[in-house]
Structure formats: C-alpha cells, structure tokens
C-alpha cells in the first residue's frame, strides 16, 4: 500500500515529467532505437501498397518489367540475410511450368533482381502442364534429377519427399517467409514429410463456384423461369440439383442477344487434371461429414468411384451435356474457363481461383463486371459409404468444397545439400519467391497462384490496389469459406495420383460419348484403379492415403 501511494506522484504528469519524456523519446528516435521499429512497420505497409499498384488492377496485364519491379522492391528480406554478391559463381537450375505464359515466366522476372544482387545465375526448365508429370516422374525414377529448385504441387510430395529427393527447409527460411501466416488447410501435414518441412507454399488451390451475376438477376429470365412452372425464385443455384435445373432451363434462352448456357462441363481429358472437375460435381454427393475419405475406402483403398454418389455425378454430366454448347464434348477445363466462361459463354463453372484473378485483371476477360463467386454448390442429400444409404442432413444441404491439388509450392532438391553455398542460394531464391509481400502481389494479379496466407485476406489492400470491394469480397469469401470448411474434400497426396485421374479421364470420355453407361464406365474405372493400386503397392498407398487425410 505504501509503495502504491508513493508511486502516484511520480505517475502524475507534470510539465517537467512530460518534457522529460518527450526529450527521451526524441533521443530514442535520433538514436534509431524506436525509429527502426516504426520504420519497418511503415515501410512494410508502404511496400505492400506500392507493389500492389504495379501496374494497377484494370490497367492491363502485367509485363516482365512489372514482375522485375515487384521482385526488386521485395528484395528486403534477402538483403537482410544475404550479402551483395555472396552467391557469385553459383549456378542453379529451376524447373517449373509455363502455363498461359505465367508461372516460370513470372519467376524469371521476380528473380532477376535477386540474381543481380546475389550474383547467382539461374537456368530454366519450362514445361507445359501436360509434360510436367511425366518429366518429373522420369527424373525421379531414373535418378536423373537435373534441377536444384522445383515448382511442384502437393500431390507429388509422396513421390519426391517420400524418396528423399528434397532438401529440408532451414529455420532461417521458415522465419523469412513466415510459415505461420499460411491458411490452416495448407499447414502441416501439407508441405511436410515425416515431420520435416520441405515446401515454400506459393499457392492455395480449391475449386470455387464462378457464376454470372447478370444472368441470375435478369428480369426476363426470371419471368421465363416462373412461366416454366418453377416454384422457386430465379437466382444463383445453391445445390447441384438446382444447377441441373437451371442448365436445362437456359437452353434456347438469350442473354444480351446471345445464346444463354448454364453450367459448363469439361469432358475432354486434360492430362489427369480434368478429373478434378468431375470431383467438384461429386464432392457434395460423396463426401459425408462423418467420413474423411471420399475417393477410396480408407482401410483397403477400394475405389469409391463406382458408388452411387460418384455415378450420380457422372450421370449429371451425361444429363447436362445436351443442354450445353454443341461442341462441349471437345472442351477441356482450359476451354471452359478461358475460351468460354471468360469470353462470355456459359453462366456457371467450377475452377481454381484463376478465373477470379483473370476476370478482373486481364485483357482476355469480358465478364469482369458481371461475375461473382461462392463455394461449390451443395446437395440435398449425401451418400453415406458406411451405411450404403443417402442421408439428408438436419443442417440442410451438404457442402464439400473440393480442395483440388492443394496449390503449388517451391521445393529445393537434396542434390544441393553437399554444397553449402549452393544450398543457401537455392533456399534464398525459394524464400524470395515465397516471400510474404511478393505473395500478395502474386495472388492479386494473373500468376497462376491464389490466396494462401491469412494476411492475403485483408480486403482493404485489395480495394487499395483497385479491386471493386463487392467483387473482391465475393471472391475472397468464396476462397476462405472453402479453405475453412469443416467438410472440405482434401486431395490425397499419394504417389501416382495423376495416374488414377488419367485412367479415369479415358473411361469418362467413353461414358460422355455414349459408348458405355455411367455405372459400367465407373466399374471399369474402379477395376483399373484396383490394378494400379496393386502395381504401385497397396499397403504403402493405404498408409499414405490415411496420412494425407490426417487419420
């Protein structure tokens, strides 16, 4: 009590104490003790604001000059840990994609200032999406890994990290890129193997639902919908049952003097990646909230592709195709996304977040002002694989966002481990690409990468960059709701997963062309998958499948 009483006069501000404190603060500022902290905070906020205005949303597609400028401005963390010219003489090889002139092309621009500063030199191995998997598999199987840094999706972690081909992430990199900032579904076990961290995450992948606002607010269509005897209001479908009804209804209707179409399926094979689009139609039917698995039975790897849920999704495609554009059978996901939906054809597609990025920020889009987003539609009932019955949930329609592919990451290969300088250089390059600020720019502009950090969901930053608040709120909410959904359908990170998908694509094209019915085709896929599981090794696959689901 005495002490408390004695303290009071000292805490009471007087002219003298205020002046003393002010002088002390000024001294701190002059000495840099306080100044460095505030400068860093301000500088980072300024940097984020500055880079996200390059070139500015709606001001055309970014160019190589823009990528270099962003790379230069984001060099701060590199400069803090690496001396200028420290990697002189180091040569690194980087293997990645060149899809839609993005990915590696951006990395080149971002890393040019890094090369100039550190003195290292990077050579590039550019691959088309379809060539990526075979090139990587061949390098792994034949022991001819000829790259030091690799852009890779999480589904391949079983093939690469599981075989000891990747270099473990040093702690200084974890700190530099702030791994705690990643959204929850991209935190371990994703990016890790046997408890070791390998991946610099640069992307978050989940299919969301992209739809046309003008179509679903059109008064003429609303009237026609009512006139057709529908009891519900005309609006954005919330379930797959509604998607089917709207797709059938829109056939033969007009919107802005053009033929209106509803949902766009992607039946043409796309190197295995096309299977995700059937997965998006199936997840609400097949992913039960009480069951983590939805593609295989968890204890046996028995495929579920021929169960009633998946067959229903396949049948939905068969039923919808006659109401879609006449050549839809020859459309792969790239066609539906970039040649149809962004060009104004069709009113609903599932896709990764690229559509939302490109719709607003790219010259190729005509729908930037009339597109909105949601999580994938749900289903009034969901199949329960354990009971073999369809359940109606008391909570309403079952939603199960398809967390397809789990995003791209940058990995450093184990072959640099023997050379300390090269090891540090490779990780520094990877850390630069996966930097917190640089990643914000990547997810805002066409890059092939979507939001994947908690810090990416600060909507004001997007608005400041030029995004329309309503638009970006819709876009980011659809992503965040998918990432955090309790019933999300997660990609299995098992070796050879694209072989399963590729086999399925082949059989699906036969089904969609009318050569076999949905059940027979699905049975054929299941038989081929069983054979493949045996060939790769069933017991090992079961273990990895469980691990990927966190069981």
């Amino acid at each position: 009590m005495v002490n408390q009483h004695d303290q009071h006069p000292a805490m009471h501000p007087s002219r003298r104490t205020v002046l003393k404190s002010a002088a002390g603060a000024a001294a701190l500022g002059t000495s840099g003790a306080l100044g460095s902290f505030s400068e860093v905070a301000f500088a980072q906020a300024n940097l984020r604001a500055e880079i996200t205005k390059i070139p500015g949303v709606g001001k055309g597609a970014p160019t190589d000059a823009d990528w270099q400028k962003v790379g230069e401005l984001c060099l701060g963390p590199t400069k803090a840990s690496i001396k200028e010219g420290e990697f002189k003489g180091v040569e690194l090889s980087f293997m990645g994609l060149n899809n839609q002139n993005l990915h590696n092309l951006l990395f080149r621009g971002f890393l040019k200032p890094w090369e100039a500063y550190t003195g290292a030199k990077i050579s590039w191995i550019d691959l088309a999406q379809a060539d990526y998997n075979p090139r990587l598999q061949q390098a792994i199987a034949t022991g001819t890994v000829d790259f030091d840094i690799l852009e890779m999706g999480a589904p391949f972690e079983g093939d690469v990290c599981g075989k000891g081909l990747a270099s473990e992430m040093p702690d200084w990199v974890k700190k530099q890129i702030d791994v705690d900032d990643y959204v929850d579904y991209l935190k371990p076990p994703v990016g890790t193997w046997n408890g070791k961290t390998y991946r610099v995450t640069i992307d978050g992948d989940c299919h969301n639902f992209n739809y046309r606002t003008d179509v679903f607010s059109d008064a003429t269509l609303a009237k026609a919908w009512k006139d057709a005897g529908n009891s519900t209001e005309w609006g954005v479908p919330k379930t797959w049952q509604q998607v089917q009804a709207v797709t059938k209804f829109l056939k033969g209707k007009k919107i802005k003097n053009q033929n209106a179409f509803g949902y766009l399926d992607a039946p043409k094979p796309w190197g295995g990646f096309g299977f995700y689009f059937l997965g998006s139609r199936a997840s609400a039917y097949a992913k039960h909230p009480d069951d983590k698995a939805w593609l295989f039975d968890i204890d046996t790897m028995k495929p579920r592709i021929n169960n009633p849920a998946w067959v229903r999704a396949i049948q939905d495609v068969i039923d919808a195709l006659p109401f879609e554009p006449a050549d839809q059978l020859n459309a792969d996901p790239n066609t539906t996304g970039f040649q149809q939906f962004l060009a104004g054809i069709g009113s609903m597609i599932p896709w990764w977040g690229d559509i939302g990025q490109v719709a607003k920020a790219s010259d190729t889009s005509v729908i930037g002002d009339v597109v909105a987003f949601d999580i994938l539609p749900g289903s009034d009932d969901v199949y329960n694989s354990k009971t073999g019955k369809w359940d109606k949930l008391s909570s309403g329609p079952n939603h199960a966002p398809n967390c397809a592919y789990l995003g791209w990451g940058v990995y450093v290969m184990a072959r640099v481990n023997g050379d300390e300088k090269k090891h540090k250089a490779a990780w520094s390059a990877a850390a630069h690409l996966g930097g917190k600020d640089l990643s914000l720019w990547m997810v805002m502009y066409p890059s092939g990468f979507q939001a994947h950090r908690t810090s990416h969901f600060q909507y004001d930053e997007w608005v400041a960059a030029g995004y329309d608040r309503k638009y970006i709120t819709s876009y980011l909410n659809s992503q965040l709701a998918s990432y955090n959904h309790p019933n999300r359908a997660v990609e299995p990170r098992i070796p050879g997963i694209f072989q399963y998908y590729s086999i399925a694509e082949d059989e699906l094209t036969k089904i969609f062309a009318g050569k076999v019915d949905a059940q027979t085709g699905a049975n054929n896929i299941a038989a081929a998958w069983e054979k493949l599981t045996d060939q790769i090794g069933r017991e090992r696959q079961i273990g990895l499948y469980k691990a990927s689901l966190g069981v």
Binding site: G162, T509, Q535
Partner: protein, 377 residues
C-alpha cells in the same frame, strides 16, 4: 564413233578380268590381332559385368553411371577394327569401311531394340517404390484384353485405308501440275506449303482455330451454308473425318511431289504413241500412265502408310483421342500410357507389339507390291 567406242571397250573388258591380289597378313600379325581382339573383348565384358553386378546390388564397386560402358564399347570397337587389319590384312582394311556403320547400328538400333524388349517384359510403374519387376509376357497378355488398344488399332485401319483417298487426290493434283497450265510453278510451291508446316502448328492453326466451334472461320462458313451446329470434333465419325482431313492436308503434298517427279520422268513418247493409236484421255491414263507410275505409286504409298501408322501429334493436340476414343491412334494411346500414367513397362510392350505388326504388314505389302509390279511390267 563406233571405233572409239570399241577402243574404249577393250580396257573395260580388261578391268572386268582384273582381280587385285589382297595382301595377306603375316603370321605374327595374325596372332597379335587375335590377342588384341580377345583382350579387348575380355576387358569390355569385365567392365560390363562389374557394372551389371554393381547396378543389381551384388557388389559395391562400380561406376556411378553407364557412361564408362559406352567408352569401353568404343575402345573395344577400335580394338576390333585394328584386330581385323592385323588378322586379315587387306580384307581387314576393307572391313574397316563397313565396321563403323555396323557398330553404330548396333549401338543405336539393335541394342535399344533388345533393351526395349527387356523393358517390355517388366512390370514397371514409375511411381512404384519397389521399382521394376520382371513379369514375362504379362504385359502382352494385358494388351490382349485392353479395349483401348484394340479400339486404337481399329481406328488405325480407318486412317490407313484413307491413304488411298489421299493418293487419289494427290495423283489428280500431280497430273494437273504436270500439265501445261498457267502459273504452274506458283501452284507447285503453294501446294507444297502444308507439308512444310509442323503437325503441331496445324493442330492449333486448323484444329483449334480455323475449325473452332465458336469463332473459327470454317465453323462460320458451315453455319452460313446451313449447318446449325458445326462441331467438328463432337461426334465420333465427324471427329475421325476431321482429323483425317487435317492429316491429309499436311500429307497430300508429299505424295503429290513424288508422283509429280515420276510423271516428269516418264518418257513422252509412250503417251504420244497412245494418242496416235487413238486412246482418249481416260484410256491413256488408265492403260499407259497409271501402269508406268505403279512402282512409284507403291513406293510412295508404303512410305505414306509408315508415316500414317505413327499418327499421334494431331490427335493428342486436338481431341486427346476423343470423343470416346473415336480418334485415338495406337501412338496417342501409348503416349498416354507412358507419359500420363508413367506405365513404362506396359507402354513399351504396346510399342514393341505395334512395331512387330508394322514390320509384318510392310513385309506383306512389299511382297504383294513386287508381284503386282512384275505383272504390270
């Protein structure tokens, strides 16, 4: 003139009787030669054995890769050549002209084929942690039950039969270009242009742009002509014909240029004689031009069939084998098995069986063509 000719004929006749006497190797040279070849062969076999044992894990010593085996092969090849000269004298020197080609063929054709047969007998999926396993004829047995393979083979029958149509069109064009028409040289160059284009470029320019359903000029023209939904790749037969049309567009110039060369080499007197005998245009073509052109025709048809059996690029790029496998070719299917599914053993087995089929087919075709041409000639 006749005298000169006779004078010339004398030394020619002498030349025919001239038989150079080959220098024989001496006895010591023979022994040294044999010893050299023996040593080199033993050395090569030893290095090879060490590397095989090292690779299979039977011993730790060995090389990190197979490059030293290639060097050992080259050293052995040189030693073998030197050994030939030492052992067989001038005959050995003559053999040196042939040996490099033989060794090269062994290295890049014979060995890869044998190695391919070995790979074809493996159950080898690149994702399998256990790596390759010997499975004998399992892959071939699997192929017999593979509906995709047989479907692709069925499509190949269609594509191969269509070569006759390509040939007919090419022959017509060759006849036109060999006739005295205006701007003949210009048309010859223009007609050759499609052949100069890469099939991948054609896939994009024609298949994915010109014939594109929404904005392609070909689709727009088809709509103008009354076809409501000009989807060139959505129904099986339409897609098959569309792929065939694109392939024909690229390939007809090749057939045409060979036939044109044949037509220009044909003696004019024969046709003039037919004309004098009162043959009309069709009779002159059918009874004179066509039979004379038959050897050229068969040659170009066989070459074209070989090319056709390898059709893949157009299909992979434009339809990916669809719709429902309607346009799939054996090569595009193997591409998917090998590249998309990393099924190396099975993919190689499919390719090996297909190679055998092509060899048998072409052998039969060559025999038949020999008979036909003999009959006509």
């Amino acid at each position: 003139m006749r005298l000169i000719s006779m004078q010339n004929s004398v030394p020619v006749s002498d030349d025919l009787h001239y038989r150079p006497v080959a220098k024989r190797a001496r006895g010591s040279g023979k022994i040294a030669g044999r010893a050299l070849v023996l040593l080199a062969s033993l050395g090569f076999m030893l290095v090879l054995l060490i590397q095989i044992l090292h690779t299979t894990g039977a011993m730790t010593a060995g090389f990190s890769d197979w490059r030293p085996i290639l060097i050992a092969y080259l050293v052995w090849a040189i030693a073998f050549g030197v050994g030939q000269v030492l052992t067989r004298g001038e005959h050995g020197q003559r053999a040196l002209f042939l040996l490099p080609a033989v060794f090269f063929t062994v290295a890049v054709v014979i060995f890869p084929t044998i190695f391919g047969i070995y790979i074809a007998s493996l159950d080898w999926n690149l994702s399998s942690i256990e790596g390759p396993r010997f499975s004998g004829f399992d892959n071939v047995r699997g192929m017999l039950n593979d509906t995709y393979y047989w479907n692709a083979l069925g499509n190949m029958v269609f594509y191969t039969a269509a070569v006759l149509g390509e040939y007919a069109i090419a022959f017509g064009l060759a006849l036109l270009l060999s006739a005295e028409i205006r701007a003949r040289k210009f048309f010859r160059v223009v007609f050759l242009l499609p052949m100069m284009l890469s099939p991948v470029a054609v896939s994009w320019m024609i298949g994915k742009s010109l014939m594109e359903y929404r904005f392609g000029p070909a689709a727009t023209l088809a709509r103008y002509l009354g076809w409501d939904n000009p989807a060139f790749f959505a129904s099986p037969w339409m897609a098959r014909f569309s792929i065939q049309a694109m392939d024909a567009w690229v390939s007809i110039p090749f057939i045409m240029i060979i036939l044109l060369a044949g037509l220009q080499a044909m003696p004019k007197e024969v046709q003039e004689a037919a004309k004098v005998d009162g043959a009309n245009g069709w009779q002159s073509f059918w009874h004179v031009t066509f039979p004379i052109m038959l050897p050229v025709s068969i040659t170009v048809l066989i070459i074209r069939i070989i090319f056709k059996l390898k059709l893949a690029d157009l299909v992979i790029n434009v339809t990916a084998g669809g719709p429902g496998g309607a346009t799939d070719t054996v090569s595009s299917f193997i591409y998917r098995v090998y590249r998309d599914r990393s099924n190396v053993g099975y993919g190689t087995a499919l390719a090996m069986v297909y190679l055998l089929m092509i060899i048998v087919l072409l052998t039969v075709l060559l025999r038949l063509s020999k008979r036909w041409t003999q009959k006509v000639v």
